[in-house]
Symmetry: C2
Subunit: 350 residues, 2 copies
Amino acid sequence: MSIEDNIRKVIPYVPGEQPKDKVIKLNTNECPYPPSPRVFEALKDMDWERLRLYPDPLMSELIESIAGYYGVKTTEVFAGVGSDDVLSMCFLTFFAGDRPVLFPDITYSFYDVWADVYRIPYETKKLDEDFMIKAEDYYAANGGVVIANPNAPTGIGESLDLIKDILDHNRDSVVIVDEAYIDFGADSALPLISEYDNLIVVRTMSKSRAMAGMRIGYCFGNEKLIKYLNDVKYSVNSYTLNIPSIVAGKAAMEDREYFETIVSRIVKTREKTAKALADSGFEFFFSDTNFLFVKPPEQCPASYLFEKLREKGIYVRYFNKDRIKDRLRITIGTDEEMDALTDALKEITG
Amino acid sequence: MSIEDNIRKVIPYVPGEQPKDKVIKLNTNECPYPPSPRVFEALKDMDWERLRLYPDPLMSELIESIAGYYGVKTTEVFAGVGSDDVLSMCFLTFFAGDRPVLFPDITYSFYDVWADVYRIPYETKKLDEDFMIKAEDYYAANGGVVIANPNAPTGIGESLDLIKDILDHNRDSVVIVDEAYIDFGADSALPLISEYDNLIVVRTMSKSRAMAGMRIGYCFGNEKLIKYLNDVKYSVNSYTLNIPSIVAGKAAMEDREYFETIVSRIVKTREKTAKALADSGFEFFFSDTNFLFVKPPEQCPASYLFEKLREKGIYVRYFNKDRIKDRLRITIGTDEEMDALTDALKEITG
């Protein structure tokens, strides 16, 4: 026996770089615009001396504002330290059986990491040639299903019919639909939570609400699932969101207009960028997200382009992984940033 | 098969109440004084637009300030969302073997909750009649040891010799020393991390640094243990502390003078309160913490006193648990709050 025998050894998820220098940062799907001015006002006005006290463990103000915004019950909402915390708690709570959890081979690369750390058996199902899900892959007996919709890093949204099909074939296991990017496209499964007691819909404030630095994620599901999720959460950490997060999250939810403005601006920039890249010989599927997953022209391998862009101070994401190593994931920034990107690409690809 | 078969069912930890009304709150060991003024300045001066970006996943600024303050290497420091998050990650990382983890029967009541949620086998060892640890209880083969020093809710600090004795007898398992209250008394095991590669020392900013609302905890250990801990943390959530936490935590560490002032003020109030309670017939052991664990005079059962104080708007903590149900845990507040408490106690006990 040694200490080593008792240690959980894992290969962690590697997040995109957070460079400290001034660069054009198109590598982690952050929002190019600041959070709503209401967030700053709320933080400025809060009683900072209250920081000596623990936060409200129920995060009532935040949960109520989320429930109000989406027209669901507060008992159907759960919140955590980013959608990563929410998803991690979901894996721990809902995937405690012996059967394998199913998710696509190309998807958010944290899913297999959570499965490994919590020792959850899993199987990946191959997306088709167009990176689309085949619903029948998820008909087999399983311990749960995870679908990112729209998917990452492909950017492709699936139809609600496909989601329903998977839900219908899995009434005995929890289906998590990870909607981190839903505000930029595709139809949300949220209206289905009252119909399906096996559905969890996950969201984040890191992308469309421009608050990656605040770490706020949330999810929806029927009361019973949310109760189980809270039991596990309260068995891990009584108080997860700190007071500023609760205050900022509430303020962000209350500014629908600002949210809609920045989302539509990003979508517009995405379409403009897509056109420019298509003109330069890049291939890609239609994106429902705040990024494009592009295949550069033949003469210019993705890994080479990644390095060259980096030398020019433009950070994008490259996954050295089977089936997608010929592509780059490029976050949609401001119009100016995307102009700089397309100019740089033209220069490099000649 | 049903959804229920895949769900992790647990009995969560129940934190002390966070009442929304104006009460004298002596139930969750918070600091009665606000955080350092430097915390407010740092938050006021920070670039709030940065919130659109993810935090530094390495939390370098915070880790460096903690390492600098305590004179250890940055590779010997880990930080999380309160010491609960740090402890939870430690349980997950270091207690992955089959042998039972050992901790006292009377201690922080989250330890068995973490063991349950992560399905870690454990055994509790009975404290002696004076609520002291018997070192030899921890000589048996085990998968790890957890000692809160000073202990909660007893408030009693153990000697460093006892800690060393336990460390010496457990070179093959990780010994976690949870020092949430160490700044109020007892000797820290921190200097031992270079000598013992099986030691983790856990701290929090929720008590002596007056920032329960910010959720910042940290721990120390040799580089190898901290590396394993980070691997697991990065397998659960890439970014745990949000940007305001990193900024506030750094500022709090930099104000040694304020920290020492409020700690010594609390210790002075504790001694004054202890004297008043002893004069009123309350029994207790010497406290090394920011609370007193008191046994009321015979005619006045603890549970009754708890309710009566509550009626008067004074919240203390009562644990309806074997061996300690005749006691109350009372946080040390300001002098004024403690005067109000002792007056109320006199009134109730007659």
